[in-house]
């Protein structure tokens, strides 16, 4: 891997770190619980991504780390949406998701995909559920009678970023194992340029979300 590729490979980590850094400001003032949880998720993501990248740089497999992290990530993300969404049916679906997703992840590890290769099934299921939750949040914004502009709502930006990220990467992640087995070079190319671009976009939108308002009092 030449220097350019290394820079490209580390670029998403830089944006993840920046988003995590900006998320700290949420803890400085009064902010709603869901926002604090999202900030915590950003920090945890950075704390996982950093060793993940370092392990990869040392030519060691890092899929096990991401396999564990993705389970936690989707559960935590769903619990943030649980705080943020108002629709009771969607809240029930989130509660069901917690159980089903954890059981499936265990089943998947034991019988379908081992821990040391990328577990794409939980990725696709979690990603698809996150898209569903993002859509539900957009629907709530669409039907809301709130007077405030959506651009001043941090969760609009987070959700926009998440829906773009999962929408852009889900088809690829779903086919990841098949593609890396059959078309390794293309998989590396697509991951390095396209998936990373979506990751950067997600973190830019997260940063906008953290910066879009000074006070969060009306959101609580």
């Amino acid at each position: 891997m030449d220097t350019f590729d290394q820079v490209i490979s580390f670029l998403p980590l830089f944006f993840i770190g920046l988003a995590a850094l900006l998320s700290i400001r949420v803890f400085l003032g009064e902010s709603p619980r869901s926002l604090r949880m999202f900030a915590q998720l950003c920090i945890i993501t950075f704390l996982v991504e950093l060793p993940g990248h370092l392990i990869k740089e040392g030519q060691n497999p890092n899929h096990w780390l991401y396999n564990i992290f993705h389970i936690f990530y989707y559960i935590y993300l769903a619990s943030i949406f649980y705080q943020q969404l108002k629709n009771e049916w969607i809240k029930i679906s989130i509660s069901v998701f917690y159980i089903v997703f954890i059981l499936f992840a265990i089943y998947n590890t034991l019988f379908l995909q081992d821990l040391f290769s990328l577990q794409t099934y939980p990725l696709v299921i979690g990603g698809a559920f996150s898209i569903f939750l993002s859509g539900a949040y957009f629907w709530e914004l669409f039907t809301s009678t709130d007077h405030e502009s959506i651009t001043r709502d941090p969760f609009f930006w987070f959700t926009f970023g998440l829906i773009l990220y999962f929408g852009g990467t889900l088809p690829f992640l779903g086919m990841f194992n098949y593609m890396s087995d059959n078309f390794y070079d293309f998989t590396v190319f697509y991951y390095r340029y396209f998936s990373n671009a979506f990751s950067i976009l997600l973190n830019i939108l997260i940063m906008i979300g953290f910066l879009c308002r000074k006070s969060y009092q009306r959101l609580s």
């Binding site: 773009l164 929408g167 088809p171 078309f183 697509y190």
Partner: protein
């Protein structure tokens, strides 16, 4: 293998693109709907404002008409009756003996005073008279009337070159000044009143200050809900887009200010009259 790769790339890119286009469409729809909602809310608020102003305008017109009728009745009817009574009294005084004559003259004096007060009241509520006199002179007359009660000392200051206000606007200014003076009489327990008018075209500023007991004024907690006089003044000021403010401190008196910028007014545009 190459063919299979092309197929996979096509599926991957097309599915990703479809998802992204759908997402962008959803977000665009969200923005458009919110913009529409904002516009609709703005239109509703404008309609509400226009309606409130129309209601207030009608109220003021009715009030003006009532004042005019009362003023005419006082002047033409009660005033005439008192004048006739005065003539009779004078005739009686001429033919009465000394003690009775003294009493009759005293009654004559009292009636004369009453007639004077009646005329003052009649003038102060007559819109035509106020418009004819002008704002400055009308306010001065009100202060003179208060001074005659010997309960207050008054001071009037007029700075800048006086310019004629549009009649309805002038009437609002005068009624606010009148209401402010009434408040001083009724509640302030003051001994001195200062009224000042500042003309600096297109700006006109009215201040009414007293040295009374003052009151606790909480504009953010319901404002003048329980104080109908102040609420009326606020409404009247709003009608001509003027800024109405109150500064009051317990034991230190009250200052009422009304600031109006002439061209800002939209309500008295020709199309509204």
């Amino acid at each position: 293998m190459q063919e299979k790769l092309s197929e996979v790339v096509l599926i991957l890119i097309s599915s990703t693109l479809i998802i992204l286009i759908l997402i962008i469409l959803i977000v665009a729809a969200l923005f458009i709907s919110q913009r529409r909602r904002f516009r609709h809310r703005q239109e509703l608020s404008e309609l509400k404002n226009v309606y409130e102003r129309e209601v207030l305008k009608t109220q003021l017109e009715t009030q003006a008409q009532t004042f005019e009728t009362i003023s005419q009745e006082l002047h033409d009817n009660v005033g005439t009756l008192i004048s006739i009574a005065l003539v009779h009294i004078k005739t009686m005084a001429a033919s009465a003996h000394e003690t009775a004559s003294k009493n009759i003259l005293e009654a004559n004096k009292t009636l004369d005073e009453a007639l004077g007060i009646l005329r003052d009241i009649s003038r102060s509520i007559n819109p035509d008279h106020i418009q004819k006199m002008g704002l400055s002179q009308s306010i001065r007359n009100e202060l003179e009337r208060l001074k005659r009660t010997k309960m207050f000392t008054t001071e009037y200051q007029c700075t800048g070159e006086e310019f004629a206000l549009e009649p309805q606007r002038q009437m609002i200014f005068f009624r606010i000044a009148q209401e402010a003076l009434n408040n001083v009489i009724k509640h302030a327990q003051a001994t001195h009143i200062t009224v000042s008018l500042k003309f600096n075209r297109p700006l006109i500023e009215l201040s009414v200050q007293d040295n009374g007991k003052g009151f606790i004024y909480l504009p953010d907690q319901g404002g003048f809900v329980n104080q109908s006089g102040l609420a009326n003044m606020t409404k009247r000021a709003k009608l001509m887009n003027a800024i109405f403010s109150i500064k009051s401190e317990l034991g230190k008196g009250t200052l009422l200010q009304l600031k109006h910028h002439e061209p800002q007014d939209q309500y008295f545009d020709e199309k509204h009259i």
